[in-house]
Amino acid sequence: MNALAHDGLAMTGRQLRRVRNSPGLAILTQMMPINMLLFFGYVFGSALAMPGREYRSFLVPGLLVATAAGGLMTGMFQAAADTHRGVMDRFRTMPVSRAAVPLGQAAADLVVTTLGTVPLLLVGLAVGWRIEGSAMEAAAAVGLLLFFRFACTCAGIFLGLLTRSEDAAGQLGASSFVLPLLSNAYIPTGNLPGWLRTLAEWNPISAVTTALRDLFGNAPVPADSSWPVAHPVAGSLAWSLALTAVFLPLAVRRYAHGER
């Protein structure tokens, strides 16, 4: 455990230094949800039945969760790049704790995500989004968001270690933008046809988004929805726990075994 903490911290430090050395990618990654907030909030917002400011309040939690789901892409791309460029193999030939590499990457990602979310929240505040619930509830919302990010990053790291190719990871990552489109992150799911609504509501992004809207006090839990959305906090925890329980051990195993 001690070795894991020591090596994990060293790995976390490595990832943070990388971001510091090449801040461009992290900044671009953060620009994306801000742009979407402005475009969706003002362009789509004008066309929707919901009043503009109400839609923007509705949209901010959705964008936070969609960005968190981007951990899948970030985790995958980084793990694939490290494998492809041989950094993983160097770690594998050293007496490094086997779980430290994936865990260190996920931990550093949480730090970067936490910092990177601040500009989005500030822009959100500027366009009318508010924390309308209690401070405790807001803290719980942030906790759920970060746990979901961690779970998505674990899944991404496993897929990155599996594909071993930056190109493949880039392609898969580019197509992952549809995931939040098939959820309630950008639009209410109430008017979708039955089967599509069920599908969207069983998307983990929907549960976490609903939980955030509820805890921030931005929008009530929609009536007669599927279980994860009807019980958004429990649903979010269940999704994040399940994803972590499956993909973290897989990622560690995949790292430890390499291609042998």
Partner: protein
């Protein structure tokens, strides 16, 4: 046995699907020596190094590295080796200094910053220490790789094609480093496709062919096995038969003609056949000599002879 051999493998086998990459690799590298694994692309050199550095698991066979079992004591093996290769690389997004500090920290070196500075200095990277490794030239990158694998003063250093793609100056610099390491007592196992590199650096050469060690010996032993090549170039093609007759008598092997160059040559293992004697005998037979040579075989000749194939033709297949 285990204490005198830094690397000792028996019958290592590895398959990748239908490809039988290693078919029983036996290797013994004495402590403190440089062993060159020499072979064309696809012979199994890199697979051998990946196995011996715990990156791959053998399908059969066993090996001990610095006295530790490769599979059962993989963690102990990892703490005794350094690896630099086409694959085990540094982090291009970190600076040289950050890379070395990270690896020092991961290997529990006391004073990681000091050790990093020491290695940067040794490999002439102090000035570039705070630049990202991605901005390094090929030679600098390779030196940083080498420095990274030396952080904990490994007992056994694995170098997989350490100079492939480098310019001559960078290559010479890596060679010097390998010689220094050997002088400090580090055992080095290096793979190369460059015959010259193995010849210059290695105490022993293991010729790898189709997943097996086809032959081992010192560069001199391998060359002695093949013998030297005596060749006469004549001014007039009419002189070739006479020259061939002399070579046949002196070497006891069948002369080979190169009519385009007006040359005829034969392999000899006779140590008493010296260049003056060769000249005298050819002259006495009235051969119109233009040029005479008695050259030691290149490792290319060695490879051709011992594996029955030239390295060139196999590289095309691989």
């Amino acid at each position: 046995m285990d204490t005198t051999y830094a690397v000792l493998s028996e019958g290592l086998e590895k398959r990748f699907g239908a490809v039988h990459a290693l078919r029983g690799l036996d290797l013994a590298v004495a402590q403190g020596t440089v062993c060159g694994l020499l072979g064309p692309n696809g012979a199994g050199k890199t697979t051998a190094v990946r196995l011996l550095t715990t990156l791959l698991r053998p399908d059969a066979g066993s090996a001990r590295i610095a006295g530790h079992d490769l599979v059962r004591e993989a963690a102990a093996v990892r703490s005794r080796i350094g690896v630099t290769g086409q694959y085990a690389s540094v982090d291009a997004d970190l600076t040289g200094r950050e890379n070395l500090r990270l690896f020092a920290r991961l290997q529990r070196v006391r004073g990681p910053a000091g050790r990093a500075d020491e290695l940067l200095e040794r490999f002439g990277l102090t000035e570039a220490a705070d630049r990202k490794a991605a901005a390094y030239s090929g030679g600098m990158r390779r030196r940083l790789d080498l420095a990274a694998s030396l952080i904990r003063r490994p007992d056994v250093l694995f170098l997989d094609e350490p100079t492939t793609g480098l310019d001559p100056a960078s290559r010479t610099r890596i060679w010097e480093s390998v010689r220094e390491l050997r002088a400090e007592g580090t055992t080095v196992l290096l793979t190369t496709q460059y015959l010259e590199e193995a010849d210059r650096l290695a105490d022993d050469i293991a010729l790898v062919d189709r997943g097996r060690v086809a032959h081992t010996g010192s560069p001199a032993e391998l060359k002695a096995l093949i013998g030297s090549y005596a060749e006469a170039v004549v001014a007039d093609a009419d002189g070739l038969p006479a020259a061939a007759a002399v070579l046949d008598r002196l070497t006891g092997s069948t002369p080979v003609f190169d009519r385009e160059r007006g040359a005829v040559g034969a392999v000899t293992t006779d140590p008493t056949l010296t260049l003056p004697r060769l000249v005298r005998e050819l002259d006495a037979a009235g051969v119109p000599l233009l040029d005479v040579s008695l050259r030691p075989p290149t490792l290319d000749d060695v490879f051709l002879r011992l594996t029955g194939e030239s390295t060139d033709s196999k590289e095309l297949v691989a």
